[in-house]
């Protein structure tokens, strides 16, 4: 079982996995640095799509050897994104990654009905593996970035993606907590209604291979003492692996709080697409980007 991001990256490095990554608008020093490390460690190959000169400049800035990359010239952000998605779609690459291109342009290419990577009717969501000193293992959280107010179907999809990731980390029966403000079911909190339905789906094997409970608050999900004091009978037992949040606006500040105040580190990716999609904020550190690349390689190897 993988319990840290370093261990995750080590596992990928030592497993013989080698995945090809197409990077859209690649002339960003953090992206170049992280990919150079992944390529040097042998688990990734990178197709860097963008302004050749600027990519070379970024290589020089970060001390990366441009010989390790395949460089492809592209005139602008939009064509770079489309090309990166297209080579991933046709199998020349296994993973597509966002470089300096804007998120909306990048996602438009990913979601394009004819040329994109999203199967019809598929739910696209975002799962993060977060490492924080205050918790004894990794926490998988969803959705920090894509679905503002998930409905029942979308929540079920989010749960499946997070479970798939946790399973890939060697957690056989992940404990998944459906997060609310309390453990009670109430009409006033529509998410608690969805959560009740999901728990029954898990009980009936419609969402298999997990231990699910919700609504629960964060304390019941992650703190055994709270479970004991509150006397709530929950199979999560304060030992959750996955936290499913009711909205983007609750999940996003949670992870940012952990990064800013909790000494957290993360690896995340877009789920629901036919191939892994690496999308991170441009301000993300090189280490986070490296972890994201390793995670995408791990998930791509489980998919194939």
């Amino acid at each position: 079982m993988i319990t840290s991001l370093r261990q995750m990256a080590d596992t990928v490095r030592s497993s013989g996995i080698k995945k090809k990554i197409a990077v859209a608008w690649a002339q960003d020093p953090n992206t170049v640095g992280s990919l150079h490390r992944a390529v040097s460690e042998g688990f990734a190959e990178a197709i860097m799509i963008g302004r050749r000169e600027q990519i070379l400049a970024a290589c020089q800035e970060t001390g990366a050897d441009p010989q390790r990359f395949t460089l492809v010239e592209s005139p602008d952000e939009k064509s770079a994104a489309e090309l990166a998605v297209s080579v991933t779609r046709n199998g020349e690459a296994d993973i597509v990654m966002k470089g300096l291109v804007g998120t909306d342009k990048f996602l438009r290419a990913v979601m394009d009905r004819e040329k994109g990577l999203l199967p019809p009717k598929a739910v696209m969501s975002y799962v993060c593996a977060v490492e924080i000193p205050a918790y004894h293992k990794l926490l998988f959280i969803t959705d920090t970035a894509v679905i503002p107010f998930p409905d029942l179907d979308q929540k079920v999809a989010m749960a499946r993606y997070a479970l798939e990731m946790a399973h890939s980390f060697g957690i056989e029966k992940p404990r998944i907590a459906l997060i609310g403000a309390s453990e009670k079911v109430s009409d006033h909190f529509p998410n608690t209604i969805d959560y009740s339905v999901m728990c029954k789906m898990a009980e009936r094997g419609q969402i298999p291979d997990c231990i699910m409970d919700g609504p629960v608050d964060l304390f019941l999900a992650c703190d055994p003492d709270s479970v004991r004091i509150k006397g709530v009978d929950t199979p999560l037992a304060g030992d959750a692996d996955i936290l499913l949040f009711p909205s983007l606006e609750s999940c996003n500040p949670f992870y940012k709080g952990l990064m800013l105040f909790g000494g957290g580190e993360l690896a995340g990716m877009i789920c629901g697409t036919s191939k892994p999609v690496v999308l991170m904020s441009r301000s993300e550190s090189e280490l986070s980007k490296y972890y994201c690349v390793a995670l995408a390689c791990l998930m791509a190897s489980h998919k194939s």
């Binding site: 029942l152 179907d153 453990e183 009670k184 079911v185 009409d187 209604i193 959560y195 009740s196 339905v197 728990c199 029954k200 789906m201 009980e203 009936r204 094997g205 419609q206 709530v232 009978d233």
Partner: protein
């Protein structure tokens, strides 16, 4: 304690004082016969409110013995309802029963804001069946009163029924919330409500019972079927109470149990301040008698 036969309901009344039953518009051959039989057996003490002359005529024609039975003369059936309801309200009677009046008229009286029997809960129909093929009595709700209960209604219906079963000595009744399948599907509201009721039960928001659902009918009553489907449930195969998704399903199940499975049945209306016996002409004499005994058993205040 699980009961197997409806005749065992009587055992709950042994050595207990007779409960006072008021029959509204008592000039009704159907209900009068079963009321007088239950009185003769010592379970109830009847008060007949209605047209005195008509009541005596029916008694004479059928050789019913009215010796010692209190009769309150009121030929107008709406007035008879009001008198009967007021008697229950003022604690002069413990059970209300419908005689020769329409169900809707009686219920209008029960729900009267000034002198009715409102308890704050929803009125619901509760039926308990003796089926040869099942190892204990099985209760079914709601087969006659609430047409398309929503989630809040279903919670009230479960609470009414669980309190009733508790009084019958079933301490932690196992409640199966019926669906067409045991899987949850957004296209079937009954399965969503079932999932919610289960979770509310787990969270102690619905107490004194064990709820699971959705369960298809076979999973609810047969452990073998549930196992066959791989359902893990503490309720499956040992259900005490079947919660119906709506009145159509409930009514058809009720009638198929009676007509095809030759089940015995007793039924009451719950949710008012006292149990209400509301039998129909098509019920057998035995069913009417057993319903009166059931009402007496749950009206115990001792």
């Amino acid at each position: 304690m699980a009961l197997k036969h409806l005749s065992e309901l009587k055992q709950l009344l042994v050595d207990k004082p007779a409960r006072r039953l008021v029959l509204a518009a008592a000039q009704d051959h159907n209900s009068l016969a079963s009321v007088l039989m239950a009185a003769k057996d010592g379970f109830i003490e009847p008060v007949l409110v209605g047209d005195k002359e008509a009541i005596h005529n029916i008694a004479a024609e059928n050789s019913f013995d009215l010796t010692g039975v209190r009769v309150v003369h009121e030929p107008d059936s709406e007035m008879a309802i009001e008198i009967a309801v007021r008697m229950v309200r003022s604690n002069q009677a413990d059970i209300l029963m419908k005689g020769k009046v329409g169900t809707s008229n009686l219920l209008k009286g029960v729900l009267n804001k000034e002198w009715g029997l409102r308890s704050g809960s929803l009125l619901s129909h509760f039926a308990i069946f003796e089926v040869a093929a099942y190892h204990k009595l099985i209760a079914v709700t709601d087969v006659a009163m609430n047409i398309a209960p929503n989630l809040q209604d279903k919670i009230a219906i479960v609470n009414n029924s669980v309190a009733c079963l508790n009084k019958l000595g079933v301490d932690m009744p196992k409640v199966a919330v019926l669906g067409a399948v045991e899987m949850v599907s957004e296209n079937m509201q009954a399965t969503l409500d079932a999932a919610l009721l289960s979770k509310m039960n787990q969270r102690d928001q619905i107490r004194n019972c064990l709820i699971d659902g959705p369960l298809a009918f076979d999973n609810a009553i047969s452990l073998e079927s549930a196992r066959h489907k791989g359902i893990r449930s503490d309720v499956a195969g040992d259900t005490d109470l079947l919660l119906m998704p709506d009145i159509e399903v409930g009514n058809v199940l009720y009638k198929s149990l009676v007509f095809f499975a030759h089940a015995g049945v007793a039924a009451v209306i719950l949710g008012a301040t006292a149990p209400i016996v509301l039998t129909s002409r098509s019920d057998s004499d035995q069913a009417k008698y057993d319903s009166i005994v059931l009402a007496a058993a749950i009206s115990r205040k001792d």
